[in-house]
């Protein structure tokens, strides 16, 4: 039990460092400004959004088309569901008929889902 806790203690030390490193410069910057050691001279280029050195293009608050949301959601759904078929394919020689029937039922349910989306007009690009 102690062994496990000791191992986590190492992680805890890392965590403390991880907190100190980013916060130290910020605190220092703020403190230098407080004591008048750091000038404050903002200009347009300086307060621009930082995008890896490339100049930013267009406004930050771009509106995405809401239609993407539905298509992406349906894609993720089917994508994840198909993953469930992989373990079955690997173990097919040991599960044989029952496994195959179960997989077919699973695919049938997926198909019904597709029909449902289709009839609900989720697949139309409106």
């Amino acid at each position: 039990m102690e062994n496990v806790l000791e191992q986590y203690a190492h992680l805890g030390i890392l965590l403390i460092f991880a907190a100190i490193f980013p916060s130290l410069p910020l605190i220092a910057s703020w403190a230098f400004f407080k004591f008048g050691l750091r000038p404050r001279m903002p200009n347009a280029v300086k307060s621009d959004t930082y995008e890896c050195g490339v100049e930013t293009e267009g406004p930050t608050w771009v509106q995405f088309n809401f239609r993407y949301y539905l298509v992406a959601l349906i894609f993720v759904l089917f994508d994840v569901e198909v993953i469930f078929l992989f373990p079955l394919a690997v173990a097919l020689d040991s599960v044989v008929v029952t496994g195959l029937v179960a997989a077919l039922i699973f695919i049938a349910v997926l198909f019904l889902g597709l029909v449902y989306e289709w009839r609900r007009q989720a697949l139309e690009w409106r």
Partner: protein
């Protein structure tokens, strides 16, 4: 394999009919039969459970020990299907508001019920999680079913906090699997019995995560913040359903996991204290917040938090007195009594709101005792019963739980429960006072309370019969609860 499917029957009936209802929405023009179909499915599920009970399937396990049909599971299957029936019957007004999504609404209720039933019969952590997600996801959608402002807010809050609770729960399960090398409850139990010594801290860490996850479902403080908003935003029949069914299934699985898998004295001594603390906190938080509510749905939401605390007394008191199983059977008894009583209260509230311009404000109940004496009487009876005054179902349940607490050396918890019973009277009696003592000045212009529809009357008959049977003849239910609990400890 076929036998496994047979054991899954009560849930499967609901799932298949639910799937059909979804498609009926798309292809059928006349959607009036859908409600009858839903009720038939729930009735079929109850019958299937009863057949499994009588045809000698009791104690048989399916799907590699992941599913069990014992009296405990059947008790909850019937209770949950019954609660769902009442919720469907009072949904007529909700369904009229959204005629094109009628099948969706009913299908989601069926899916959710199937998930809760599955939860009561799960003996494997993976099964528990799948069942919980099946019911939770259906409930998230149902809470936000009216896509209005309150519905969306309640639904989103429920979804976000619920997702976090699921993650916490899964983390607890993962720790348990990592420690014991199994997800099967009896294998976990035997591991703890043989090799658990010295690993108490890690096992308790898993237990705490599990308590947090299921505590969220049961709306126990401090995991209750979703309840008031979800109840207010949800269609009222769904609020009624959430307040009883969700809670019942959460306690079913808490009893199952903590007594079957983590029931070893090694751990029980520790989690007993956690449950006692949660019970105390939940009762005080629920009751104190309920006093300040003007919306009767919010009031009942906080009251359900307090009731969950009372139920938790049974979990805290159980381990000290293993031989008699009193705590667990007390929970089952109290749950059944609370379910019928709370459903009765909600049924009347729905009826009143239908003719009150959809208002749930307690102040708008003024003078209702004159305009609708019968409705007011039923609501008053249900609320007084929820306080726990004799000779009602909740009264016997409270006596049962408090006595168990005293017997297992937790007399202070019984005292806390009794004090909270007094506090709860303050808000349960407010609508009663409004209905019978307060008067309104323009008596004639108040809207007439019309005769309720047949289905609502049926729901009222169902729950009132439940209240009366349990209140007048509690022995029946006590026997059933004790038989159900004996299945877990055998």
């Amino acid at each position: 394999m076929l036998n496994d499917v047979n054991l899954l029957g009560p849930e499967l009936v609901l799932l298949v009919v639910g799937g059909f209802l979804l498609f009926a929405d798309l292809f059928l023009k006349d959607r009036r039969i859908l409600m009858g179909l839903t009720l038939a499915a729930l009735l079929g599920s109850i019958l299937y459970s009863a057949i499994l009970l009588t045809e000698g399937h009791i104690g048989s396990q399916g799907f590699g020990g992941a599913l069990v049909v014992d009296k405990f599971a059947v008790f909850f299957q019937i209770l949950l299907a019954g609660a769902a029936m009442a919720a469907v019957l009072v949904s007529t007004e909700t369904l009229q508001r959204t005629p094109s999504r009628r099948g969706e609404y009913l299908a989601l209720i069926l899916f959710s019920t199937a998930g809760l039933q599955l939860l009561a019969g799960s003996r494997d952590l993976i099964m528990v999680f799948i069942a919980l997600e099946l019911t939770s996801i259906s409930q998230y959608i149902l809470v936000g079913f009216h896509k209005d402002r309150w519905g969306s807010e309640g639904g989103l809050k429920y979804l976000l906090t619920g997702a976090v609770a699921s993650a916490v729960l899964l983390y607890g399960m993962a720790i348990l699997l990592g420690l014991t090398g199994s997800t099967n409850l009896s294998e976990i139990a035997s591991y703890i019995a043989w090799q658990g010594a010295g690993k108490e801290e890690a096992l308790m860490l898993a237990a705490v995560f599990l308590i947090a996850g299921f505590g969220f479902k049961a709306a126990v403080a401090p995991f209750q913040m979703w309840a008031p908003d979800a109840y207010t935003g949800a269609p009222t029949p769904i609020a009624a359903y959430l307040s009883v069914a969700s809670k019942a299934a959460a306690f079913a699985i808490l009893i199952r996991i903590f007594f079957e898998a983590l029931g070893d004295d090694l751990l029980a001594e520790h989690w007993k204290t956690i449950f006692a603390a949660l019970a105390t906190l939940s009762m005080f938080v629920g009751n104190f917040f309920a006093i300040r509510q003007n919306n009767i749905k919010r009031m009942l939401a906080y009251s359900s938090v307090a009731q969950a605390g009372t139920l938790m007394i049974g979990l805290a008191a159980i381990s000290a007195d293993r031989g008699e199983l009193l705590g667990a059977s007390g929970i089952l008894f109290y749950l059944a009594g609370y379910t019928v009583t709370n459903l009765a209260a909600f049924t009347v509230i729905i009826l009143i709101a239908n003719h009150n311009g959809g208002s749930y404000d307690i102040r708008s109940y003024a003078g209702l005792g004159k305009r609708a004496p019968w409705l007011s009487f039923v609501l008053a009876f249900a609320l007084i019963s929820l306080i726990g005054l004799p000779p009602t179902a909740v009264f016997f349940g409270k006596i049962y739980l408090f006595e168990t607490a005293v017997q297992s050396g937790l007399a202070w918890l019984a005292v806390v429960g009794a004090v909270n019973t007094l506090i709860s009277a303050a808000y349960y009696l407010r609508p009663v006072k409004a209905m019978f003592i307060d008067t309104v000045e323009d008596e004639d212009t108040q809207p007439e309370v019309a005769r309720p529809s047949n289905s609502v009357l049926a729901a009222m008959g169902l729950v009132t019969a439940g209240v009366l049977v349990i209140g007048l003849h509690p022995g029946l239910l006590i026997n059933a609860a004790e038989a159900a609990v004996a299945a877990i400890f055998s």
